[in-house]
Amino acid sequence: MRQFWRTMLRSPSGIIGLIILVLAIVIAVAGPFYFPNSPWRMVQRPFVPPFTLAKVPLGTDALGRDVLAGLIFGARVSLLVGLVSTLVALVVGVPLGAIAGYFGGRVDDALMRFTEFFQTIPSFALAIVLVAILQPSIYSIVAAIGLVSWPPVARLVRGEVLSLRTREYVQAAVVTGQSNAWIIWREILPNALSPVIVLASLMVATAILLESSLSFLGLGDPNLISWGYMVGAGRTVIRQAWWITVFPGVAILLSVLGLNLIGEGLNDALNPRLSREGR
C-alpha cells in the first residue's frame, strides 16, 4: 500500500488528478454549507456578467440565478452520478465477468452473448431510450448510465479471471478444499482489481460526460442542478452570456481530466510491469 502511494505520488499526472478530484469532492461536500441558498433561487437580475457583483461573483443566468451556486450544487450531482453509476456498472459487471471467467464453458458462452447483446446497441442511444422510458430522474439516469457501462467491466473482469483461474495459487485453494465462491471472492477478485480500478476511474469520467450529454438533450433530473444541465441551459444564450456555459463546461472538463489523470496514475502505480522500468 505504501509502495502504491509512493508510485502514485511520484507521477505528476496522478498528483494533479488527485488534487482536482479532492478539490471537487470538497466543493461538493462542503460547498452547500457556505451557499445554503437553493441554486434555483432567482437572486439578481438575469445576465449579470461575472466579476461585476460581489454577491454573484460568477454572474447570473437567464433567470437571474447564481452561477456559482449552481456550480457548487452541480458538483454534487455530477460527481454523484459519476460515482454511483460506476458503482452500478461494477456491481453488475464484476460478478458477471467473474462468473463467466471462472466457470467458463456454457455459462461463459451464455453470459458473453448477453454482454455482447448490450454492447451491440450503441450505448448513448440505449441510455437515451432508457432514461426516456424510466422518465428522467437522478435514479433513472444513474441506472441507465450504469446499465450501458457494465459490459466493458464484465469483459475485463472475465479476461482477468480467465487468466487468474489457472494461476497456481488458485489451484492451491481448490486443492485445499475451498468453495468456488470463496475462491472467486478471496483469491481471484482481489488480484483482478487493479485494472478494474483503473477502468473505473475512467468510467466515472465517462459517466459525468454522459450525464451532461443527457442533460443537454433535456433528459436530466429537473429537480437537481447539474453541470450538464447548466451547459445545456446556457447554450442558447452563449452569444449573450458566455459565462453560463463556460464555467460549468470548464468544471466538467477539469473533473473528467482529473479522473483521467488519476486513471493514468493508478495504471502506473498498480501495474508493476510499468512502474518498475522507467519510462
Binding site: R113, E116, F117, Q119, T120, I121, P122, S123, F124, A125, I128, V129, L130, A132, I133, Q135, A205, L209, S212, S213, F216, L217, G228, V231, G232, R235, I238, R239, T245, G249, I252, L253, L254, V256, L257, N260, L261, L274, E277, R279
Partner: protein, 323 residues
C-alpha cells in the same frame, strides 16, 4: 475462413433477434404511444380519435401478436411501416444512412489517423515536452463535452470567421453537381466530423502510445536492435505493427457504435443522420422506426465487429492458426 464468417453470421442473427425482442418490449414500456403523440399535435382530441389512431397503428392488438407480426416482417427483410411518417421504415433509414456513414466514417478516419500519428509521436518522444503536450491536448479533447466543442466551433468558424457552413449536409437549393457538390458536402462535413473525430482521437492517441511503450519493451524489439536495424525501421516494422493490434480491436468496436452514437453531433449540426432519426422516433414514439434504427445500427455493429476480426486475422497470423 468461410466457416468462420458463417458461424459469426449465425451468432449475429441470434443476437439481433434478442435485440428485437427486448427492445420491442422496452420501447413499449415508455409512457405514451404514437396515438397519444398525434392526438397532442392535432390540437384537439377525443377518445374516438385516439382509439382510431391506435387501431390504425395496430396498437390495439395484444403485444405478442404485434411482436409476431414484426418478427415475421423482419424475417422477410421488411422493417415495417412508420405510420407517423407514412413511409416504410427501411426507406426512411436508407435515406439517412449515407449521411451517417459519411459523417461517422470520416470522423473515424480522422480519429484513427490522427490518433495513431499522435500516439506514435508521443511514444517516440516519451517523456519529452512533445509527449506531454500531445497527451494533455488529447485529454482535453476527450474531457470536453462534445456538444460544447461543437458550439464553440460553430461560433468560431461559422459566425465569426464565416469559413464553414454551420448546419446541414449540403447547400440546399444550390443545385451543385459533380466536384462542386463534393466540395460543398465536404465543407459541411468538416466541423461535425472534426468534432466527433477529435473526441475519439484522444482514445486512440493514448492507446497507441501505451501500446507502443509496452511493445517497445518486448524481447523481439531487442532482437531487432541486436541485428543493427535503424531505429525508424524498428519503430515501424516491429513496434508499430505489433502495437496496433489492440488499437485495431478497439477501432472495430468504435466503428460500429459510431453509427448510432452521433446523436449529439447530428443535433447540433443539423446533420440528417440516423442518430437524429432515432431521437425523433423516440420522442414521437414511432415504435417501428425506433426499432428499425436499433436493428440496423446493431447489425452495423455486428458487421463492423466481423470486419475487425477479419482484418485482425490479416494483421495477426497467430489468430488464423488458433482456429
Amino acid at each position: 475462413m468461410l466457416s468462420f464468417i458463417a458461424q459469426r453470421v449465425v451468432k449475429g442473427v441470434i443476437v439481433l433477434l434478442a435485440i428485437i425482442v427486448l427492445n420491442f418490449f422496452l420501447i413499449r414500456l415508455a409512457p405514451g404511444d404514437p396515438a397519444v403523440v398525434m392526438a397532442g399535435e392535432a390540437g384537439a382530441s377525443d377518445q374516438i380519435f385516439v382509439a382510431q389512431l391506435r387501431e390504425k397503428f395496430g396498437l390495439d392488438r395484444p403485444l405478442p401478436e404485434q411482436l409476431l407480426i414484426y418478427v415475421k416482417g423482419i424475417a422477410s427483410l421488411d422493417l415495417g411501416f412508420s405510420f407517423r411518417q407514412q413511409a416504410p421504415v427501411a426507406k426512411l433509414i436508407a435515406e439517412r444512412l449515407p449521411a451517417t456513414l459519411l459523417l461517422t466514417l470520416t470522423a473515424f478516419a480522422i480519429s484513427l489517423g490522427l490518433g495513431i500519428l499522435f500516439g506514435v509521436l508521443a511514444a517516440r518522444f516519451a517523456g519529452t515536452f512533445l509527449d506531454t503536450a500531445i497527451t494533455v491536448l488529447a485529454l482535453i479533447f476527450y474531457a470536453t463535452p462534445l456538444f460544447w466543442i461543437a458550439l464553440i466551433a460553430i461560433l468560431l468558424f461559422s459566425v465569426w470567421a464565416d469559413w464553414l457552413p454551420s448546419f446541414g449536409y449540403e447547400t440546399v437549393g444550390a443545385g451543385y453537381t459533380g466536384l462542386r457538390h463534393a466540395l460543398d458536402v465536404g465543407a459541411h462535413l468538416v466541423m461535425p466530423a472534426a468534432t466527433l473525430g477529435l473526441f475519439f482521437m484522444a482514445t486512440y492517441t493514448r492507446m497507441t502510445r501505451a501500446s507502443m511503450l509496452e511493445v517497445k519493451r518486448l524481447d523481439f524489439v531487442k532482437t531487432a536492435r541486436a541485428k543493427g536495424l535503424r531505429d525508424g525501421i524498428i519503430l515501424r516494422r516491429h513496434v508499430l505493427r505489433n502495437a496496433l493490434l489492440p488499437v485495431v480491436t478497439l477501432a472495430g468496436v468504435h466503428a460500429g457504435t459510431l453509427v448510432g452514437g452521433a446523436v449529439l453531433t447530428e443535433t447540433v449540426f443539423a446533420w440528417p443522420g440516423i442518430g437524429r432519426l432515432m431521437y425523433d422516433a423516440l420522442i414521437q414514439r414511432d415504435y417501428n422506426l425506433l426499432l428499425g434504427v436499433f436493428v440496423v445500427s446493431s447489425a452495423m455493429v455486428l458487421i463492423f465487429n466481423l470486419v475487425t476480426d477479419l482484418v485482425y486475422r490479416l494483421v495477426d497470423p497467430r489468430i488464423e492458426y488458433a482456429s
